[in-house]
């Protein structure tokens, strides 16, 4: 069993190029990982005999709402720039320890590598993150909407600057 700090040290020794900091904003520490390295980092975490992270408890996405706010006359607004985040909670059921990873991507190009090849369960979690926040998961086997209608083209509803469309298939929405 290892603490988050010890796992951070192991990862820092393994990937000195890009694993350098932990996010301290939330209650939990989160190791920051670049978007295009998450798959190899997770493969290491899953297969290393000292870590053995065999389960992805939760994959969640977040709109950080930290861009430039462009307000419009009707009270709605849009964000220019800023970031979106993906947060991974991992657990090892054999060694009984946990770790939190965080990937931060720019709002204009929210591309993150998929981890569904490591944990099958990530398939649907990533589809939900795509559906609600609009994170594009690269190398995902079937990246389409999971909760909203398949033909939904009015954007991603859990983004802070989301605006409801007037109509969906002739049904008045707001």
């Amino acid at each position: 069993m290892k603490t988050q700090q010890e796992i951070f040290e192991i990862l820092k020794a393994q990937y000195p190029d890009f694993i350098t900091t932990q996010d301290t904003e939330a209650n939990e520490l989160a190791i920051e990982v670049p978007a295009l390295q998450i798959n190899s980092v997770c493969q290491f975490l899953a297969s290393n005999p000292d870590l053995l992270f065999d389960s992805l408890i939760l994959l969640s996405a977040l709109d950080d709402a930290n861009g430039k706010k462009n307000s419009e006359a009707d009270g709605s607004f849009e964000f220019d720039g800023g970031t979106l985040s993906v947060i991974y909670h991992l657990e090892s059921s054999k060694l009984r320890h946990k770790v939190v990873l965080k990937v931060v991507v720019p709002r204009e190009k929210p591309e993150v590598e998929s981890v569904s090849s490591i944990w099958q369960h990530a398939d649907w979690e990533e589809r939900e993150a795509y559906d609600m926040i609009g994170i594009i998961f690269l190398n995902h086997p079937n990246l389409q909407r999971i909760l909203m209608p398949y033909d939904w083209d009015a954007g991603f509803p859990l983004r802070k600057d989301y605006k409801n469309p007037e109509f969906y298939m002739g049904i008045k929405v707001p």
């Binding site: 909760l147 909203m148 509803p157 298939m169 049904i171 008045k172 929405v173």
Partner: protein, 164 residues
């Protein structure tokens, strides 16, 4: 009309209006589509079960919309589901009736302001005959809704309404 058992002193002919007979037949065997959506569906199932016994009003769940007379919209209607409900409704033969059960189906309920995915009232998609308020309504409330629907059917007419 009500129960006529043992109301006559001898065997005889009963005279009634064709309209009344048809309405009585319709309102006494309202077969519902076996269809539930959310927590209201649990109350609807409780209403169907032995304690409240929907069957005593002639309400039997049917597995196919083609054999059903009423549909009880029991729960939150999402935009995705609304298109399917419309399709089920269109498959039902006339005359068909709709009971909207619970706040979500009546008006969007708790999703009124922030529900990006919820239809704000089932009447935006299909015509509704009876609205049953509650979140979720008790089985007694649903029974009351059904009685109101029966009352509505009892007063239907075969005669075309004059345009005013």
């Amino acid at each position: 009309m009500g129960l006529l058992d043992k109301q006559f002193s001898d065997e005889n002919i009963i005279l009634t209006k064709a309209e009344d007979l048809l309405n009585w037949a319709r309102l006494s065997s309202l077969w519902q589509v076996g269809f539930g959506l959310a927590c209201c569906a649990i109350e609807m199932m409780a209403t169907s079960a032995s304690h409240y016994d929907f069957d005593r009003f002639g309400v039997i769940p049917r597995p196919s919309p083609r054999q059903a007379d009423i549909i009880i919209i029991s729960g939150t209607v999402t935009l995705k589901m609304a298109t399917r409900i419309k399709r089920i409704y269109e498959q039902m033969p006339d005359p068909k009736y709709v009971i909207s059960m619970g706040s979500c189906s009546n008006s969007g309920g708790p999703y009124w302001e922030h529900g990006y995915h919820v239809v704000k009232g089932m009447d935006r998609v299909i015509p509704v005959d009876v609205y049953v308020p509650g979140c979720p309504p008790r089985p007694e409330a649903l029974l009351e809704g059904l009685l109101k629907l029966q009352e509505k059917i009892r007063n239907e007419s075969l005669v075309k309404k004059e345009k005013v």
